[in-house]
């Protein structure tokens, strides 16, 4: 346990000095401020909770941003250390590879959680400043915070997996960008194409709901857009959220981090530095 915390402590120090903390926080803060201020405009006429509107716009954004931050924090973790030659020395110390991985994971998760907390904190603050604290329901905000962390954890794990499988950081960075593109853009486009081609047949009714929650980014999006009236504000396949229950979405978001981290651990064990 001491070893894990020592790794975490060191990684946090490195993340701070590398400006990863600052970069993540600024990214999240910038986008949440803009979306909160811009998204607030129509809420008055629609009579919807302004915080809910903000959460919806931020969810749409987080689907892109959080996997990106997760992958950027993690792709270098193993390949980079192997390349720089710092990994060989670490592995001669009396701690397991699992401990190294978990230590790094905790540090990166802290960075991510901090960035999300700052972003959502700003959202809450701005909304209260504009509309007052009364009549706001904070549950969607808290749900968004927790699921953002789960989504980030999943993509951290995927990043470590790539980092352990690939020897060069350059290649690892390329692969994680492709993964990001597939998960948050191409996957949905593919599903949409299949839906159109299937035209309400077997695929649409049976396979599609499962495929939709199988992608953690989609599970995250569906889970955080519960109210159909608000969901309709969002375009695309968000409207089909009712087709898969929230249980599937939650399971997807919980299983992905564990699965990805486990696979990364297995891949890391095969690395000969």
């Amino acid at each position: 346990m001491t070893s894990i915390l020592s790794i975490t402590r060191l990684e946090l120090l490195i993340a701070r000095r590398n400006m990863w903390v600052a970069t993540s926080v600024i990214l999240m803060a910038m986008f949440t401020i803009v979306l909160t201020l811009a998204g607030g405009a129509p809420s008055g006429s629609l009579g919807v909770d302004p915080l809910l509107v903000a959460v919806t716009s931020i969810t749409t954004l987080s689907v892109y941003l959080i996997p990106l931050i997760g992958l950027l924090l993690s792709f270098d973790a193993i390949a980079g250390e192997a390349e720089r030659g710092t990994l060989a020395l670490s592995l001669t110390y009396p701690l397991s590879r699992g401990e190294i991985l978990v230590g790094k994971f905790l540090a990166h998760l802290c960075v991510l959680a901090f960035a999300v907390a700052v972003g959502l904190g700003l959202t809450a603050g701005l909304t209260i400043w504009q509309y007052g604290a009364a009549d706001l329901s904070y549950a969607p905000l808290i749900k968004l915070f927790l699921t953002s962390i789960a989504l980030g954890a999943a993509f951290l794990g995927i990043g470590y997996l790539v980092s352990a499988l690939v020897r060069q950081t350059g290649v690892a960075s390329g692969i994680v960008i492709i993964i990001w593109l597939v998960c948050v853009v191409l996957y949905d486009l593919g599903l949409l194409g299949a839906l159109v081609a299937d035209d309400g047949g077997f695929f649409t009714k049976t396979v599609f709901p499962w495929l939709l929650v199988a992608n953690p980014a989609d599970a995250f999006r569906l889970f955080n857009m519960p109210d159909v009236s608000v969901s309709e504000l969002a375009s695309g396949i968000g409207a089909t959220g009712a087709s898969a229950s929230w249980i599937g979405q939650v399971v997807s978001m919980l299983v992905w981090p564990v699965l990805a981290l486990g696979l990364a651990g297995l891949a890391f064990r095969r690395v000969e530095p």
Binding site: T2, S3, S6, R9, L10, L13, I14, R17, N18, R84, G85, T86, A88, L89, L91, T92, Y93, P94, L95, S96, E272, P273
Partner: protein, 299 residues
């Protein structure tokens, strides 16, 4: 207990045999120098001892434990060749981190920074360090927790002569405290007086493993005597001793160890004709060349 025992260890990468049937033992407090060209298998051997590379056949025991196990890793201090650290950390942060991993009090890390002469730069980022300073941090981390076995891969590369001297002082202290030291090196001259045993590797084979004196005896490399004559009597002296005149005033000749005393007697018998004598035994370089260049000649 034997600090390190290596028995018939082979490492193959496909058809390539990086290490071939090597056996070697080190007792507590012994200092062994592992010599060899680049690619001779020194680093591969160390990586197997550390558990970083798998062993194709044979066995290695570190104080009775298999390489890479927690108990083996606890007792090993390792300094990698061209050691690298994260540039954004300070020397103190990096060393304290390693101290935590080895469950050593943080105070020890500060003591070691002092010991390797880095206390003045301890709070600067490692990015700003020279190669020699990084090497010192590497040495300091290898000393954490007084290891039972120290593996030092090319420890003096990048160090200036004075630092090298200080480095070997630290190695002496380590071995005096009972640590078995295995170090690999190219810089041969500095090893002569600083190690108990020399092991020579070439293309994966262990070609020699003995004390310097015994290696000299086995190799039967000639001792070189340089005689300075007084006046212009070099020709006469050269004829008398059977040596070769190297210039007007000096003669050089070679002999085997057992002839040394009688040859010296003949030289001193020439009395006033002789001004000075230099006796040079085969250097480590000569030995190294002897053992590593023509391995098949001696089999």
């Amino acid at each position: 207990m034997t600090a390190l025992s290596i028995q018939n260890v082979t490492k193959s990468y496909g058809d390539l045999r990086a290490v071939h049937e090597v056996s070697l033992g080190i007792e507590a407090g012994e200092r062994i120098a592992l010599l060899g060209h680049n690619g001779a298998g020194k680093t591969t051997l160390m990586r197997m001892i550390l558990g970083l590379a798998t062993i194709s056949s044979g066995s290695i025991r570190v104080l009775g434990a298999a390489p890479g196990t927690r108990s083996a890793r606890k007792v090993i201090g390792f300094l990698p060749e061209s050691v690298a650290f994260h540039g954004n950390l300070t020397g103190r942060e990096q060393l304290q981190h390693f101290a935590r991993l080895k469950s050593v009090p943080l105070r020890k890390a500060d003591d070691l920074l002092d010991r390797v002469g880095l206390s003045h730069a301890a709070d600067r980022k490692i990015r700003t360090y020279s190669k020699g300073m990084r090497q010192r941090i590497g040495l300091a981390q290898a000393l954490l927790g007084t290891p039972k076995l120290a593996l030092l891969d090319e420890p003096t590369s990048g160090l200036d002569p004075i630092s090298r001297h200080e480095f070997y002082d630290i190695v002496d202290d380590l071995s005096a405290a009972g640590t078995a030291v295995l170090l690999s090196s190219h810089a041969l001259t500095e090893l002569e007086t600083r190690t108990d045993r020399i092991a020579i590797m070439s293309s994966g084979h262990l070609l020699a493993n003995d004390s310097l004196a015994n290696l000299r005896q086995q190799a039967r490399l000639p001792i070189r005597l340089d005689v300075t004559t007084s006046g212009e009597s070099a020709d006469h002296v050269a004829n008398h001793l059977g040596g070769e005149r190297s210039n007007g005033r000096s003669v050089s000749l070679t002999c085997q160890q057992e002839e040394k005393v009688s040859v010296l007697g003949r030289i001193t018998g020439l009395g006033d004709l002789i001004k000075d004598i230099d006796v040079t035994p085969a250097s480590l370089e000569d030995l190294y060349r002897h053992y590593s260049v023509n391995p098949e000649d001696r089999k």
